[in-house]
């Protein structure tokens, strides 16, 4: 079932005008921000499909930048997000693409910290304020943000799934859903793990210290 909570139906509390083009977009930006971990120096946003056609009227650009700044759907600061971004020296660029996306409400966000941390995220706004991240650094994923989610970038080697789950088990964290993606055998890979309990920074650090793990990030339930 796509919708699991009554609060998917009555809610979210949001700044208007559109649950798909404003609130859903804000959440895509917010998850990207949480995944990136820190405030980015540069945010490059590309809209596809219906987002590309209607973003000005729906404030989709304002909302997604608001999310990237860390604002939730109901945060009044969303309406001022573009000037807040400018004041905090965050470089924002908004683009539209003619490419036909799989979903009419698609946005790609590329975040950069101006040094060597980059993140590319692709998200869709599915309606009623819900969204799904469909791509992280060119790995196909399905992240709804409904649950705490752990992301482990690693090299594709045997034993890694066991090693990561061992750390989680030791901290009594239950795995609800897990998916793996790799670029090719033995190459870069990404584990996406939805957990029942939040994963702390300390646990992330522990996982990051495992062999063949390159980067770890966790996002809270949005």
């Amino acid at each position: 079932m796509k919708y699991r909570s009554v609060f998917d139906i009555i809610g979210p509390v949001m700044i208007g005008p559109s649950s798909s083009h404003t609130a859903g977009a804000a959440r895509i930006g917010l998850l990207a921000r949480k995944l990136f971990g820190t405030r980015p120096k540069k945010a490059n946003v590309t809209f596809y499909g219906s987002f590309a056609k209607t973003y000005k009227g729906h404030g989709t650009d304002i909302a997604i930048v608001g999310g990237i700044l860390g604002f939730d759907t109901f945060d009044q600061r969303i309406t001022q997000s573009l000037s807040i971004a400018k004041d905090s020296n965050m470089e924002v660029s908004i683009h539209v693409s003619d490419d036909i996306p799989n979903h009419p409400n698609t946005a790609r966000i590329i975040l950069d910290d101006g040094r060597n941390k980059k993140l590319s995220v692709c998200g869709i706004s599915v309606g009623g304020g819900k969204m799904e991240i469909t791509e992280v650094d060119n790995f196909p994923v399905r992240v709804t943000g409904d649950m705490p989610t752990l992301f482990v970038w690693h090299e594709d080697r045997y034993g890694l799934v066991a090693a990561v789950s061992e750390v989680l088990a030791a901290h009594k964290i239950n795995i609800g859903y897990m998916e793996m993606a790799r670029k090719s055998k033995g190459a870069e890979a990404l584990m996406v793990i939805e957990t029942d309990q939040a994963v702390s920074g300390a646990i992330c650090k522990e996982i990051c210290e495992l062999s063949y793990v390159n980067r770890v990030s966790s996002t809270p339930a949005l």
Partner: protein, 291 residues
């Protein structure tokens, strides 16, 4: 405990001898692991936001950024003060509060999506008209939202709730059906009667297209929220009078789904057809986005 269809929801309600709102709270508690109190508290926050949006909308004649909407709720409230409305005081009050909420949405104000922002006026609009009329308690008002939520939950999982996916019949249609069921429960009707209200309300929205002028959530959205509220009130009365839909509720929802699938993209929130494509619609688009 779980329900996937309206029929299952009504069955559960009979089996547990609880109204739809309480079934929804029970299921939510089971799925989320949160306590009933916590869940009720969360819904109360939504109620507060809705109340504030209604209050703001009926007080503020200011127009939206585009200039397309704003001020109609004020007009209606003034009309209600000055004369006896032909369509009935309660009905028009519900309409005015639905319009108020949707106008606030258009102004990038704070609202609660029910289930979407485009249709956010209907559930609170009807609630804040019917509740005082029925002398409803605060608890009953919170329950209203759970009843509405339960209906929307079924529609969302079996059909669609957004104009982009299924046309306005899915967006305003869902909200209208949700409100109709909630009115019935608040008025003391049974779960079965709520179900009939859903069927009666929704079957009257079938085929309604999503054709927003300039692609904004304003024209005709605000006026569709108005009629959605009116529809919900009448559907509720019909159900409470004992009228039954010839087509079972879940089949009406399925019909909405199939019609939505058959609808061309030009009529599903692309601003390529319907009112959006009228000469005035296009002129307004040019004026707002400047070409």
């Amino acid at each position: 405990m779980a329900f996937r269809t309206i029929a299952e929801l009504v069955e559960l309600s009979a089996k547990e001898n609880k109204p739809i709102s309480q079934i929804m709270i029970d299921v939510e508690s089971e799925v989320s692991g949160k306590s009933r109190q916590e869940i009720i508290k969360m819904m109360t926050r939504n109620l507060d936001i809705m109340e504030e949006a209604v209050r703001r909308g009926i007080a503020e004649p200011a127009r939206s950024r585009s200039g397309l909407t704003g001020g109609d709720a004020v007009l209606l409230q003034t009309y209600l003060k000055e004369r006896e409305p032909l369509s009935g005081r309660l009905l028009l009050d519900a309409v005015s509060k639905s319009v108020a909420t949707n106008e606030v949405n258009a102004k990038m104000g704070t609202i609660c999506a029910t289930p979407t922002a485009g249709a956010c006026g209907i559930v609170p609009g009807t609630l804040f008209a019917v509740a005082p009329k029925l002398n409803a308690s605060h608890d009953q008002m919170v329950n209203y939202l759970f009843t509405a939520g339960a209906i929307g939950f079924v529609i969302a999982n079996n059909a669609f709730i957004s104009g982009a996916a299924g046309g306005c019949q899915a967006e305003v249609g869902s909200a209208t059906a949700m409100a109709a069921a909630a009115i019935v429960e608040m008025a003391g009707g049974s779960a079965e009667q709520s179900s009939q209200a859903v069927a009666i309300a929704l079957k009257n929205m079938l085929g309604l297209v999503c054709d927003p002028v300039a692609g904004l959530v304003e024209v005709p959205c605000v006026k569709r929220n108005a009629m959605g509220a009116a529809n919900a009130m009448v559907a509720a009365d019909m159900a409470l009078a004992g009228i039954k839909s010839a087509i079972p509720t879940d089949e009406v929802i399925d019909a909405m789904y199939r019609i939505g699938c058959a609808m061309p993209n030009t009529l599903k929130e692309t601003a390529l057809g319907g009112l959006a494509a009228t000469p005035t619609g296009r002129e307004l688009e040019r004026r707002i986005f400047g070409e």
